[in-house]
């Protein structure tokens, strides 16, 4: 479904991604783990078209999207829940959700998608007219995910959904991610919480200073001594 081939990304003189290749197949949950500054977020931002790679190619459903504008990438079915949630704090919860469906046409469809999102995140329904900035961290994460789902994506990119959340909320968020996947959305998940990520993913890639160093089935990586030592706290 998604194929990233050998991309090189620079921030000025800094070489942030060095020949990164990865693949996500339809229906999978693939996770990209690694330390702070390894290039995980950069990878997602490049896929979404916010940053441009200098070399390499990104293919989605057989189409080359390497240089497609960001809105075209969303239209094709890739949505992202960015790091730090990045909800529109000055807009109401409902407006945030509507922004997620910015490219969707038709009021009927919008209503239906809204219903689906409320079903998944009942707490958002209670807070519809509240300014999004007044939500708690967990609610904001749910809003960010709900907003991305409003675009009815084929592929959902999640950047650190567990960041800053209490362990109980992290569990809840991960089980929702699993549900979203089971309902038919393919997922590429970036996480620092490698243990949680590996527990729900099919396959995983490990990123270290801009390079993919290991990849394989998630379960295998979770059991590997090397990964345990480096990312799972012994």
């Amino acid at each position: 479904m998604l194929k990233v081939e050998n991309i090189d990304v620079y921030y000025g003189a800094i070489h942030a991604l060095k020949g990164v290749s990865l693949e996500v197949k339809e229906g999978e949950i693939v996770t990209l783990i690694g330390a702070n500054g390894a290039g995980k977020s950069t990878s997602l931002q490049t896929i979404s078209g916010l940053i441009r790679q200098k070399r390499g190619k990104i293919m989605f459903s057989g189409r080359d999207i390497s240089f497609s504008p960001a809105q075209e990438i969303v239209r094709m079915g890739i949505s992202q829940v960015p790091e730090g949630r990045r909800i529109f704090a000055n807009l109401s919860v409902r407006e945030n959700l509507e922004m997620g469906a910015y490219l969707q046409k038709g009021k009927e469809g919008l209503k239906k998608t809204l219903e689906k999102v409320y079903e998944k995140f009942p707490r958002l329904r209670e807070r519809l007219n509240q300014r999004a900035g007044t939500l708690s961290g967990g609610e904001q994460q749910m809003l960010a995910m709900g907003r991305a789902l409003m675009a009815q994506p084929k592929l959902l990119l999640l950047d650190e959904p567990s960041m800053g959340l209490a362990p109980i909320l992290v569990k809840e968020i991960f089980s929702i991610i699993k549900e979203i996947n089971e309902a038919g959305t393919t997922i590429l998940l970036v996480e620092q919480n490698a243990k949680m990520a590996l527990s729900i993913a099919n396959r995983a890639y490990v990123l270290e200073t801009g390079r993919i160093v290991t990849s394989g089935p998630a379960q295998e990586l979770a059991e590997s001594e090397q990964i345990k030592k480096a990312y799972l706290g012994g």
């Binding site: 809105q71 407006e95 904001q140």
Partner: protein, 294 residues
């Protein structure tokens, strides 16, 4: 008491013009953090467009107002595309300097094309003076017209910003451009729309200023532009209701100073006010709380 009412009415009409101009500054600032110093010149071109529409095309006041808006909107979009868009990713300072350059270019271009003389703005609407409070206070039909047009424009703006999809996108872009991109918003077109709306407001202000002072001139946009900028800062730059409040407040302060002290102190007080705000509350009267929940 009568003088006070008269001054307040004057202040309100001048203030509404400032408010119209300030809205353009504040909207553009809200969306790309640029003080568009060419805004006063967009106003001037709008005033001239209105002038030619009335004198050469022999249009009535309202059709002329529409012509002025269209001309200013086109100019505003051209300025944004040619001068500012290429600098979107450079420092704010280069964009600011460019804005000053565009302003000077349009001022001097105006002097070249329209000449350096003051031109009498045609009286497209009859000026009737209404007396009230036993004949001691007066209000003119022009003042009433200015107020009504301003209020209508503000309602239109509130509607666009809060009830339309474009308005929602504008608020989203002004809060977080990258997040808006991830929603599939075409940020460039939203910026263009913002300039277009601001320019339309400037054109209305230009025509109203022509009517208010009864003359127009290629440099006419410069001083009201600066004052409206102060109004926008006074209310809190980037905040739409702030620009409205700031504009009215500034107009009233100005006329009160002219009426009770001396018109010689008018500008001193207004610019002094800018310094005071910047020292005491740089975020303006309605300044937003920048704290966010993490």
């Amino acid at each position: 008491m009568e003088t006070l009412i008269a001054q307040l009415l004057n202040g309100l009409s001048l203030g509404s013009i400032y408010a119209l101009i300030a809205l353009g500054y504040t909207m553009v600032y809200g969306i790309i953090q640029l003080i568009n110093f060419a805004h006063g010149e967009i106003l001037m071109i709008g005033a001239y467009a209105g002038f030619f529409a009335i004198t050469k095309l022999e249009l009535g006041f309202f059709p002329a107002l529409i012509v002025a808006m269209v001309v200013s909107v086109v100019l505003g979009i051209i300025v944004e595309r040619v001068a500012y868009k290429p600098l979107r990713n450079s420092t704010r300072l280069s964009a600011l300097i460019t804005a000053i350059g565009v302003s000077l270019f349009l001022q001097n271009g105006g002097l070249q094309v329209f000449g350096t003389d003051y031109v009498t703005f045609p009286r497209a609407v009859d000026k009737v003076t209404y007396k009230f409070l036993g004949g001691n206070a007066t209000i003119t039909s022009h003042q009433i017209l200015i107020l009504i047009i301003t209020v209508i424009m503000m309602f239109i703006l509130q509607y666009i910003v809060h009830k339309t999809k474009t308005g929602k996108a504008m608020r989203a872009v002004s809060y977080d451009k990258d997040a808006a991109l991830l929603m599939g918003v075409n940020v460039d077109s939203v910026i263009t729309v913002t300039f277009a709306i601001g320019s339309a407001f400037a054109a209305v202000a230009g025509v109203l200023l022509g009517m208010y002072y009864q003359t127009i001139h290629p440099l006419m946009g410069s001083m009201p532009g600066l004052k409206a900028f102060i109004a926008a800062v006074l209310g809190g730059i980037g905040i739409i209701p702030g620009a409205m409040a700031g504009g009215f407040l500034l107009g009233i302060i100005e006329t009160l100073v002219s009426g009770y002290l001396s018109s010689a102190y008018r500008d001193v007080v207004v610019f002094g006010l800018l310094i005071v705000i910047l020292v005491v509350k740089p975020t303006g009267l309605l300044g937003k709380d920048t704290h966010e929940k993490v």
